[in-house]
């Protein structure tokens, strides 16, 4: 068994308004930082998976995303396997 380090990005779907991102964009403009647009805020999740192969670790990460970590009605996710 090997320990695989996994990084998961969960973001609101591109078509959906992200009120949090909109509020932060307003803050950035108030700071005088112009030229910034389309701020979107999501989640970055890190976890470790014990598995026999990278493929089976990734399959498990996919299952975690599908069942709990992301809601496909409002979010998409990307999984990255990181060298320990």
């Amino acid at each position: 068994m090997t320990t695989y380090h996994v990084q998961i990005k969960v973001m609101p779907l591109k078509d959906l308004l992200d009120p949090q991102g909109k509020a932060v964009l307003g803050g950035l403009h108030n700071l005088g930082l112009n030229g910034i647009s389309d701020v979107r805020i999501g989640k970055h999740i890190t976890l470790q998976i014990e598995a026999e192969s990278e493929l089976s670790a990734k399959t498990k990460a996919e299952e975690a995303c599908k069942k709990l970590l992301a809601n496909p009605v409002m979010e998409f996710y990307e999984i990255e396997m990181v060298q320990g």
């Binding site: 959906l16 009120p19 909109k22 509020a23 989640k43 709990l68 809601n71 009605v73």
Partner: protein
Amino acid sequence: MKFGVVVFPGSNCDRDMQDALQNDLNKEVIMLWHKDRDLSMFTTDDCIVLPGGFSYGDYLRCGAIARFSNMMESVIEFAQRGGKVLGVCNGFQILCESGLLPGVLLQNIHQKYVCKNVNITNGKEVFTIPIAHGDGRYYASNEVLEELQANNQILFQYCDEAGNIVADANPNGALQNIAGIKNKAGNVFGMMPHPERASSPLLGNEDGKKIFALLGLTA
């Protein structure tokens, strides 16, 4: 018919719901702890209520963690057998996360928590019911919305005093002003407004009782 009210860590409308059902609607109520699983004291003529609050601190997404609690597994099975289930506010969010109702409740469009009386309509009558939420913006794909309409699954929409479903009366940016929906089979109901906070003459508003009656929960 009797009621079960599920208590999750972070529920905060469970006692309001119990009080309204017991004292305003004269119903038998059994409080159900999220760690338990037993629903054998209920038949499918009874109703399990998921109350408002912030179950599991709204961690990850509102309602996402509650869905995997022991009691929710039993509630999902109960609903699939045809038992009645009502989710209010956080309860609605849990029903969407658990797949018992389609769609999702997103953060309010204006980034604000709203706590006020609003008007909602079932297309026939107008009711004044309080809302109190930060994530109440109902969202679903176009296909799901069309299906909701085709099957008459939209229970309540935000409206003005005269019952007009207009953008100005929408408190959170919900698609089509949706405030509440039911599942296709018609035994699972979810709504953001709180009928349990408007069911007593002492509170000056009894429209909530009409909501419970409309959902067939006063039999």
